[in-house]
């Protein structure tokens, strides 16, 4: 019997907790809904946000980027560049002076100021200067990227044209050089023949004996014999005067002949020497012709063997193709997870903190403390109220979301819901913590906005995280907004499983746990302000 009574007491306690919990939620909702402005904001606010954002970001293009251009004199090339940019997504406006162009940029009348050199031609040494307003942190990189992409495309087109010209010249050269290989070969061969001929001549000439001396014909012996005959016969020498003369004359002729022969020998040697020189030159010529032939063959071969024979390959040797990791096509697909986390964060922080601080500032707050209802029931009641309102808002947002990406969303709906529940819990508990710690509605709103803004600034939404100093980035990596956004993106865009997101989920769960413990103690502390 006693055991039964204990059980009953337990059941009754549970019953009274449930009654108090439901009563709390009912009361909170009534208080919110009876304020017409609050009710309107709570339910229409997210609708308006989501419609505006959807309409604005349901594209992947940039619109109305105005480029102001100035040049002392527009050349055909600069006109063509501007026309090309204008045909894409940019609005081109020619501006009279460079100063005005820069002023217009400062005054936000244009987004980019392009200063184009006078008579811009291909190969012109001067740069085209693009000026951008760096203070527009969120836009400047997009503009720089978009403009550079367009200019780079135009530049590539020009490079292709130049490369094409170069290639056709090379082709022509190759065509003209090919027959000349044969010519060079013929020259080399002819030279070789000439060389052989000259060698033969040299040999012939060498074999020609032009050596002659007077003594060789024996006139001395004839004269001596004659003298002997005269002496022996005691002929009158005068009788042989004529003969002697003839002999002497013969000797003279012989001597002349000898001289001539000597001269002929000299000439022969000169000829041989010249032939040798000529032969050498011919040999060199033949070698030269051979070299020319080799060179032309090599050039021709190189031209024909060149790897890149297309102008496109030369202008852009590495083909770059940036492929999206997700198949989604418009910005809203990428922005939707961020938008959802952003709404959860701001509404969670603001709604819960305001609800708690209003309750705290209400004169009825004291009475809550003197009832037997446990603090945890109040905390859970407030949390549940916030969760209900936030869920209603998210249902509206996801309802609109379904219109844009029905298939993608339905497949990840369960996982997304679980994650959204975790994120809502986290931001609601943080908001409640602010509500319990601070003492006025104004301070709480300011603190909630500041905290939300801090989370937003330390995320990649406004500035890429990579632009932050390493130490700040390390902190930012644990930013609940960053964690929530990255996990939701991974689920909504890539359909990753919870196992794959383990670590991040554990961090989020620890945040929730710590946050609720702090809320509990902050509520206890808030008694002091009554």
């Amino acid at each position: 019997m006693q055991k039964n009574n204990k059980k009953l007491v337990k059941k009754l306690r549970a019953l009274s907790i449930v009654t108090a919990f439901l009563g709390l939620i009912k009361k909170n909702l009534k208080l919110i809904l009876r304020s017409k402005s609050s009710a309107t904001i709570f339910f229409l606010g997210p609708l308006i946000i989501v419609f505006l954002v959807s309409a604005a970001f349901n594209t992947s293009s940039l619109f109305n980027i105005k480029i102001g251009a100035y040049s002392d004199s527009y050349s055909q090339l600069s006109e063509s560049l501007l026309t090309d940019l204008g045909q894409k997504q940019f609005v081109i406006e020619k501006i009279e002076t460079k100063e005005k162009c820069l002023d217009d940029l400062k005054n936000n009348l244009i987004h980019v100021c392009a200063i184009i050199p006078q008579n811009l031609e291909i190969g012109s040494e001067e740069n085209i200067d693009f000026f951008v307003d760096n203070s527009k942190i969120n836009l400047v990189w997009i503009i720089i990227d978009a403009v550079s992409k367009r200019v780079s495309t135009k530049s590539t087109e020009l490079s292709q044209q130049l490369a094409s010209n170069l290639l056709s010249t090379l082709e022509k050269t190759e065509t003209q050089l090919s027959p000349k290989i044969q010519t060079a070969s013929t020259i080399a061969s002819t030279n070789k023949n000439l060389e052989t001929k000259f060698s033969q001549i040299s040999t012939s000439l060498n074999s020609l004996d032009l050596s002659f001396t007077v003594g060789k014909i024996g006139v001395d012996k004839i004269s001596s014999k004659l003298d002997d005959i005269i002496k022996d016969n005691k002929f009158n020498k005068s009788l042989f005067g004529e003969v002697d003369k003839a002999i002497l004359s013969s000797i003279d002729v012989a001597e002349d002949y000898e001289t001539t022969m000597k001269e002929a020998t000299t000439i022969k040697e000169n000829i041989l020497s010249s032939l040798s020189d000529a032969n050498l030159l011919l040999s060199q010529n033949a070698q030269g012709a051979k070299d020319i032939e080799t060179a032309i063959t090599s050039i021709s071969s190189d031209i024909s063997n060149a790897k890149s024979t297309s102008a496109e390959q030369i202008a852009a040797p590495i083909k770059l193709s940036i492929n999206p990791i997700s198949t989604k096509t418009t910005n809203i697909n990428f922005l939707f997870p961020t938008l959802v986390v952003l709404i959860i964060m701001f509404i969670g922080l603001l709604l819960s903190s305001i609800l708690v601080v209003r309750e705290k500032l209400s004169s009825a707050y004291f009475r809550n403390f003197i009832t037997p209802t446990h603090d945890l029931v109040f905390i859970l009641g407030d949390y549940a109220t916030n969760l209900i309102i936030l869920s209603l808002q998210l249902v509206i947002i996801f309802g609109v979301g379904l219109f844009f990406f029905k298939e993608n969303l339905i497949s990840v709906l369960l996982k997304t819901s679980v994650l959204i529940f975790l994120l809502s819990t986290l931001f609601i508990s943080l908001g409640m913590l602010l509500g319990y710690l601070l003492r006025s509605e104004e301070t709480v709103v300011l603190a909630a906005f500041s905290l939300g803004s801090l989370f937003l600034f330390l995320s990649g939404t406004i500035l890429p995280l990579e632009t932050l100093p390493e130490s700040v980035k390390q902190i930012a990596d644990f930013n609940p907004f960053v964690l929530g956004e990255s996990v939701l993106k991974k689920i909504m865009l890539f359909n990753l499983s919870f196992t794959e997101l383990g670590f991040t989920l554990y961090i989020l769960l620890s945040y929730i746990l710590v946050s609720f413990v702090l809320v509990y103690f902050a509520r206890k502390l808030s008694k002091r302000s009554i």
């Binding site: 039964n4 009574n5 009953l8 059941k11 009754l12 306690r13 549970a14 019953l15 009274s16 907790i17 009654t19 108090a20 439901l22 009563g23 709390l24 009912k26 009361k27 009534k30 208080l31 009876r34 304020s35 209400s362 004169s363 009825a364 707050y365 004291f366 009475r367 809550n368 403390f369 003197i370 009832t371 037997p372 209802t373 446990h374 008694k527 009554i530």
Partner: protein
């Protein structure tokens, strides 16, 4: 006399019917006990005095309580006993710690030292369990302006763990008791000041507490509304509920309270029934005298009084036999001075309070 309805077996059955699945088959007698709370208090003796009241069941005993906030000592070693079924008035100057003491009694604050017990049970130890025994109507209106009268009462009933049916069964009689039955659907923010005060009391009574604590219940009310509230307090007390109330209006305390505690400098300076206190301070009669010259030194020579309080323009003499003193005073004053005002009376609780608090300061 308006009585709270006894909760019948049928009502209990109806109340628990939505929770049958959770509760299972149980003996209804337990529920009857649970819903009808403890038995009604026994009659207390008419002229019970404070000192022996602790013997009564359901009494509140404050035992050597001290409370400070930071360096600021609010209550210093206070001990008192509040008898069951009585109206206990706590009076003191602003900031004397009356509200702090009330909040300590309901367990909202924890004392730095000492203990408080209700019916012999330590309020701090059995805080959650004993909270159902206390109702607290604060100086401020502790309810939600955007909820109507019924919703406010219902909400606080739910916080006390009462079921919807049980609340429904009490709602009408309670709202009739506090005079808000006709305004049950009116938003609290649209109620008049007096009605708000009554709603606050209704919210404190929804769970049928044994003790109703009221912090300045007639503050900011016009005389008519004050009368209404006082009359309501008396009605509630007739339900055998102990009432602890504070007020600056000592004539009200004097009229309504059975026992009065005067708190000064963080201590209970005096404790007793209004009659006891007045008796203590009214062995003498009071003679208030104001003369044209405002010079009283010569005038008082040869006059025997138990106490003389000199004020800026007048003097008050406490005497046992005013008929003997008065002719002397009139004669002496009449010769050299001119009497502007002369009044003979017994001291009121207000004057007792002033006397005690001034002396306590000294």
């Amino acid at each position: 006399m308006l009585k709270y309805p006894e909760i019948s077996k049928e009502v209990i059955q109806k109340a628990i019917s939505p929770y049958k699945k959770i509760l299972g088959n149980i003996n209804l007698s337990y529920y009857k006990k649970f819903f009808n709370k403890s038995e009604k208090p026994k009659e207390t003796r008419e002229n019970e005095i404070v000192d022996n009241s602790a013997k009564l069941s359901g009494s509140i005993k404050v035992n050597s309580i001290s409370k400070s906030f930071g360096q600021n000592n609010i209550l210093n070693n206070i001990s008192l006993t509040i008898p069951k079924g009585k109206i206990f008035g706590l009076v003191g100057v602003s900031g004397s710690g009356k509200t702090t003491l009330l909040k300590l009694i309901v367990g909202f604050y924890k004392p730095n030292k000492g203990s408080i017990s209700f019916d012999g049970k330590d309020v701090l130890k059995y805080n959650k369990a004993l909270r159902k025994s206390f109702g607290f109507a604060s100086q401020e209106n502790c309810f939600y302006g955007r909820l109507n009268v019924e919703e406010n009462v219902r909400y606080f009933g739910q916080l006390y763990g009462l079921t919807e049916d049980f609340i429904d069964s009490r709602m009408d009689s309670l709202l009739k008791l506090v005079g808000l039955f006709e305004s049950r659907k009116t938003l609290a923010e649209n109620l008049s000041t007096g009605m708000r005060r009554r709603l606050d009391i209704a919210c404190s009574l929804i769970h049928d507490p044994n003790v109703l604590i009221m912090d300045e219940p007639t503050e900011d009310l016009d005389p008519n509304l004050r009368k209404e509230v006082i009359s309501m307090i008396k009605k509630i007390n007739q339900e055998d509920k102990t009432i602890i109330m504070t007020s600056h209006l000592l004539n009200e305390i004097e009229n309504v309270c059975d026992v009065v505690g005067i708190i000064s400098n963080g201590k209970i300076a005096k404790l007793g029934s209004p009659e006891q206190l007045k008796k203590e301070y009214s062995k003498d009669f009071e003679i208030h005298l104001e003369t044209a010259s405002k010079k009283y030194t010569q005038l008082l020579k040869g006059i025997k009084a138990d106490k003389v309080i000199k004020k800026k323009k007048s003097i008050t003499l406490y005497v046992k036999e005013p008929e003997k003193i008065l002719p002397k005073l009139i004669s002496k004053a009449g010769k050299k001075d001119k009497i502007l005002n002369l009044k003979v009376s017994r001291p009121s609780l207000s004057e007792v309070f002033q006397y005690i608090t001034k002396n306590a300061k000294k």
